[in-house]
Structure formats: C-alpha cells, structure tokens
Amino acid sequence: MTYLPAIIILGTLLAYIAIGLWAARRVKSANGFLIASGKLGILPITGTYVATFTSAVTVLGGPAGIFNAGISYIWLYITFAVGACFTAIVAARYRRAELTTPADFFKVRYGSPLMEKLNAAGTIIALVFSLIAQFTAMGIVWSLALGRSFQEGILLAAVAMVIIIVAGGLESVAWSDVFKAGIFFIAVTLAGIWTLVKFGGFRVMVTQALAVNPDFADLSTGMGGAVGIFFLFLTWSCGIGTHPQYLQRISASFDRRTGILQYVIGWPFIALIFVFLTIIGIGTIINVTELPAGFTRDYLGPLFIQQNAPVAIYGLYLAGLTAAALSTADSVIQLTVTYISHNLVRGALRPDISDRSLLLLSRVASLVLVIFIALLTLFQWKWIVYIAAYCWGILAILYFAPTVLGLYWRRANAQGALSSVIGGLIAFVIAQSLALFGKWPFAEVPPTGVGVIAGMLLMIVVSISTPPSNKEQLSVFFEK
C-alpha cells in the first residue's frame, strides 16, 4: 500500500508523456508547434481550457482558503468566472484575425510593432514568474504523497514536461490536457461526493463547520471586506479575462464557433470542480483540527482526503493534483516560447529565419526555459514568491484594457493602448514601491489594482483626445 501513491503519480506522468508524444506526430511546422496551426477541434480545445483553468494552486489553495477565510473564500472563484465571461466576450471577436500570439493583436489592431515587442517582453517576464508557483506545487504534491524530497518532484515533473513540449508544442500540450482535465475532474468529483456522503449532506456539514468556527458564515471579512472583494474582482477578473493563455487558445481554435464552445462546454465542469473543492474545504474545517509538524495549510485538502477517505480516492486525488500542476505549467511554458520565437526572434532579431530553424529554436527554447524555471524554483528565493504574487495583476495591466476596449470600442487607438500599458505599469510600480517601504496608505488596495484602474482610465482619456485608428485596422474586427 505504501507504494500505491507513487505508482499512481508515476502512472499519471507516463500516460501524460505517451499522449503528448502521440499528438506530436502532427507537428510538422513552426506554426504547428506554436499554435497547433489554429486547427484544434472542440475536444482538445475544451480539454486544454479546463485543464489550464484548474491549476495546482487552485486545488491546493481552495480547501486551504475555505479553512482560513470561511465561505467568503468562494468570492475568489466568483471573480474567476466573471473573468471567464470577459474571455467569452473577447472570443466572439478576437478570432476574426489570425494571430500567432496575443502580442500580435497590438500589431493588427493598433498598427504598432513597438507595442507588440514591449508587450511580448513584459508578458515573458510575468509568465516566467507565475510558473514558479506551479513548479512549487508540483514539488509539494510529490513530497506530500511520498515523503520524498521536494526537489525530486520538481525534477521529475520538469523532465515529463520537457519531453512533451519539445516533441509537439501546443498540439501535445492540448491533447495531454484532455487526459489531465478528465483525471482531475473525476478525482475532485469523487472526493467531493465522498465527503458529502461521509458527513451526511451539505446541511450537516455547514452546521458542524459553524460549530467549529462561527466566523465561517461571514461573507466578506475573510476576503478583506467590500473594498478587498472589489479589488479581488479587479485583479482576478481582469487578469483572467484576457490572460494570454486563454487568448492563445482562442487563436488555436479551429474557428470562431469552436473558440466560443470551449466556455459553453467547459464551464459546467469547472463549476462542479469549484462546488466540490468548496465541499472538501468545509470538510477540512470540521475534521482537521491541527496540522502535523512540517505541514503548511496548503496541504489541508490532500491531508483531509488521505486521513479520511479510502486509499483509492486518495490515490486518484493525487493523480488529479499531479495533472492540475502539470497542465498549467506546461501551457505557460509553451506560451512563453511562442512569444520568444514568434515576436522576438522572427518578429525582430531574425525576420528571415526559415520555418525549420524556427521550429528547432522553439524546441531548444522550451528545454532551456524549463531548466531555468526549475532552478529558480529549487532555490526558493523569497523575492521570487513576492514577485510571483503580482504576475496576474501585471498581465491584467498589459492586456485587459487594450484587448477588451480594442475589440468593442472603435475609438480605442494606439496612443490610448500605449499610455494604458505604460501608465498602468508605472502606477503599479509606484504603489508597489510605497507598499514595500511601508508608506502605502490604503491597506486594502493592492498595487496591481491601482495599475489596472490607471490603465483603463488612460486608455479612455488618451484615445478620446487623439485621432482614431485608421479604417484598415478597424475593419479586421468591426466590419463583418
């Protein structure tokens, strides 16, 4: 029995590699590697959307968050869904252009190669730091399940990811995500249903949780009150709404209809995942009164399942966690490589590069990137964790106003978009520096939130005060 979790995790990794290698057969060009030639059908596109949406951070953070903040924690999942509503709205027009990376949008809609490059560079930095949290989660899963070292878990996952990304780029990532989304959904659903049955239903669970922690029913304090929740929406809904990994998946979809269907089909599944993670979180309040030495609260969900559920459910839960950790990390690595290859190398440094060389370069870049991030994660520098916490906010500043307004507001122009991105980042850096030195007077207002608001206002004010975009740029997205 002691070997069961190890066998399950290794089995998940092997299945993941096998599917990734199988899908890689289709990849014959750089475009195939970077964006699956814009030909992904409903199954792979929905699978990769759901798998990317549910990361290990969500799975570990969910039950831990309910334990800490009570039921008010689900505001976070509400902000996620509102963000996805924005993505669906964006998708309805975004697929009208053939884009390789989300930075291309700035070239097509605003006619600005400068913004395309700036955006690509900013995105690469933000994505690299966001990957560290995902790699950390993989180390946690491994050390938790097997009592083996954190480092070993990161290395194993890194090797698995290198194999499939190098082999088949987005094609491999997307198809292996179908498998991962499936495993993950089944794992969380079974664990959630089992929890409900064990305690005798939702009502009994809530009553018991209230007996342990009367603050459990508070709907806002745990998340920073009304102001805290408002900024939670601003950071997460805007950050998710136009996160480049979702924009990339719109461009990779076979057509507009497929691009939109990923949300129509995917969200009932994601909603159920949130329901069951909430229920598992309530279970931890009732049942885990103290954590064993050496465990942080991130371990609460898996620990609760391990201590209470049958070993088969626990094993599946670990497989689901492994799948969740891998699926977000490999997607973000592959996305980062598309910016490096397409926008920086083909777009600026070597415009005449052959397709063959670009494909090779993308594969080498994937390998180097995984090694680099694995090293950053292994050293566990404090400042990295600090920067990683702001990645979503930075991505919201880089993309939200320029993309949403650019698609639905004719008057939005290049000057507005550039001021929005640069002004938003400057406002963020100023607020963040003040916060670092303890001089930021608004405790509940996150510095990223200031950047997002400044970016939106600048986009509107500067666009109105300068000449509109030319007809050619507008015709791509507006006149169909």
């Binding site: 209230l210 459990f216 209809r257 969200w267």
Partner: protein, 33 residues
C-alpha cells in the same frame, strides 16, 4: 437569518455565476457572424 440559509443562498448565487460563462458563450453562438 438562519446562518445555514445564508450560506446556502450565497453558494447558490456562486453556482449561478460559475455557469454564466457558458450562458454568455451560448448567446454569442446565436449571434450572426
């Protein structure tokens, strides 16, 4: 209000929001391109 009911309603509200990306997608699918 009964604390259980308060939590139940909040949870139901959350679930409605969690399926709204699906509904918005459906509305866009009906829109003529």
């Amino acid at each position: 209000m009964d604390l259980y009911l308060k939590i139940l309603w909040f949870f139901i509200f959350a679930i409605v929001v969690w399926v709204s990306p699906s509904i918005i997608g459906l509305l866009f699918l009906k829109e003529k391109e």
